[in-house]
């Protein structure tokens, strides 16, 4: 694995490098859902807003698909991180 790939951080939330992603793809993980579950990229505070498009591009290159053919992982609520404390009392009010 070349040094650039080892030193390039793809997922800043979980410190996942480009080389990590290449290794997951080489293992046969050919979808964003699988890669996400095996190394937590896209599961951090940014919820994949930084890493998902980058990994999609790597997957497309490795599998010979176009980026449009790479299925995106499920987007999950809440859209932005929210403090537990901010959610208190919602039920009583509404």
């Amino acid at each position: 694995m070349d040094n650039n790939a080892e030193n390039t951080i793809i997922c800043r939330c979980e410190d996942i490098t480009l080389a990590d992603i290449h290794r997951r793809i080489a293992k046969g993980e050919h979808s964003l859902e699988e890669i996400k579950r095996s190394c937590r990229c896209g599961m951090g505070p940014c919820q994949g807003r930084n890493c998902t498009p980058l990994i999609a591009k790597e997957l497309a290159t490795a599998t010979g698909k176009s980026i449009a053919e790479v299925t995106l992982p499920t987007f999950r609520p809440p859209t932005a991180a929210i403090k537990m404390g901010s959610l208190l009392g919602v039920k009583k009010d509404g």
Binding site: S31, E33, E34, R37, S38, R40, M43, G44, P45, Q47, T74, R76, P77, P78, A81, I82, K83, M84, G85, L87, L88, G89, V90, K91
Partner: protein
């Protein structure tokens, strides 16, 4: 895709992968796993990732004890280089009512008899384990320090890797459409990627086990039930044990990775395949968990999701075949604790499929127990 197999396992969750590995290890011949989506895409990958010995029936205690013993050295046992994030920080189960205290004390007697080192803590002693816990209304608690956490994706990957090393073929993105029988024998499993001729099937389809059973005319009393869950941002170690309150119907654990994983069981959740998240859960969860663990109010929730418990009527797994179809085996109905029971369950299933003497007696786990009225009635499920 292979055209024939000695055994086809339906479902690429942790139970299916553990069963497939054990089948191959015991020399079952050609073993194939068929998974509709990807490995651990169902209940396994959506679960709370806890494992505990503190159960209310002897059977669950024994299955959990043996599974935990295996998880403690799983990568070595499977000869794979995968970190399954095994941690033992205990489970704390606070009691809030007299009947709960009575039940918990009964559990302790049972657990002690089975060599499980759980203990009774007074409300004040709970603070030694979780210093910031709100003990208002707590009448005491049971605690077992051997309970803990494992990463479900990694445990599944470990079993799948070990299974492949033994020649098991795993087909993902492949859905089973039908299982055909002829004169009381299974003949073929029809999938979206072709047919596999086989005489033996293991139904490890979790919440979909009933649908798979119906393919061979078997009506399994297993129903899917949505359970919601959320995760926070990772923070410094703060909470040692899993806190599980049957009074609040919640569990909450800080994973070794630093994030808090928590969920609640909804008593009126209907039978369905719904895995949508709801804002009601998000608010309910925050309300209840902050009441017990106040500092959690400062944590950011970053993601919520839902998964299906494969519920059985007595909340105990169904493992076995039926007299009508001896080569159709079910390993489902784990009712929310399939992940933590998967190591021993896979081994027992493989032994049963091959007609070997099982390590533990398990003939009483068959689906026939519901007609015979021989239930286990596990009281401790959130």
């Amino acid at each position: 895709m292979v055209k024939t197999a000695d055994v086809v396992v339906i479902g690429g969750g942790v139970v299916g992968c553990s069963t497939a590995y054990n089948l191959a290890k015991l020399g079952a011949g050609k073993v194939v796993v068929v998974e509709k989506k990807y490995l651990a895409s169902g209940a396994t990958g959506r679960c709370g990732a806890g494992m505990r010995l503190q159960w209310g029936t002897e059977t669950n205690c024994l299955l959990a004890k043996e599974s935990l013993r295996m998880l403690a050295h799983l990568p070595e046992m499977l000869n794979v280089d995968i970190n399954i994030e095994f941690h033992q920080n205990g489970y704390l189960l606070p009691a809030y009512t007299k009947s709960m205290v009575e039940q918990f004390k009964k559990n302790l007697v049972l657990q002690k008899k089975l060599g499980i080192k759980s203990q009774w803590l007074s409300a004040e002693e709970c603070l030694d384990v979780v210093p910031f816990m709100n003990i208002k209304g707590v009448l005491g608690a049971t605690f077992c320090k051997e309970d803990g956490h494992c990463n479900p994706f990694k445990v599944t990957e470990a079993y799948a890797t070990a299974a492949r090393n033994l020649g098991v073929e795993i087909y993902t993105d492949t859905e089973v459409l039908d299982v055909k029988t002829q004169n009381g024998q299974i003949v073929v499993v029809k999938t979206t990627n072709g047919d596999i001729a086989t005489n033996t099937v293991v139904n490890a389809a979790g919440g979909y086990a009933k649908n798979v059973g119906r393919m061979v005319g078997l009506e399994l009393p297993i129903f899917p039930e949505r359970h919601e869950i959320l995760v926070t941002e990772p923070v410094e170690p703060l909470l040692g044990p899993m806190v599980m309150s049957f009074h609040h119907n919640l569990y909450c654990q800080q994973s070794p990775h630093g994030s808090f994983i928590m969920g609640i069981g909804h008593p009126n959740e209907p039978e369905s395949f719904n895995t949508q998240s709801s804002w009601q859960f998000l608010c309910d969860m925050a309300e209840r968990v902050v009441e017990i663990l106040p500092p959690l109010a400062k944590l950011n929730v970053i993601r919520q999701w839902a998964g299906l418990y494969d519920m059985s009527p007595d909340r105990t797994p169904i493992m076995g075949n039926t007299p009508e179809l001896k080569h159709f085996f079910t390993a489902a109905g784990f009712s929310g604790h399939g992940f933590m029971l998967s190591p021993i369950s896979g081994q027992l299933m493989a032994e049963m499929v091959l007609g070997n003497t099982t390590t533990f007696p398990i003939q009483m786990f068959d689906v026939g127990r519901f007609e015979r009225g021989e239930l286990f009635a596990e009281p401790l499920v959130v």
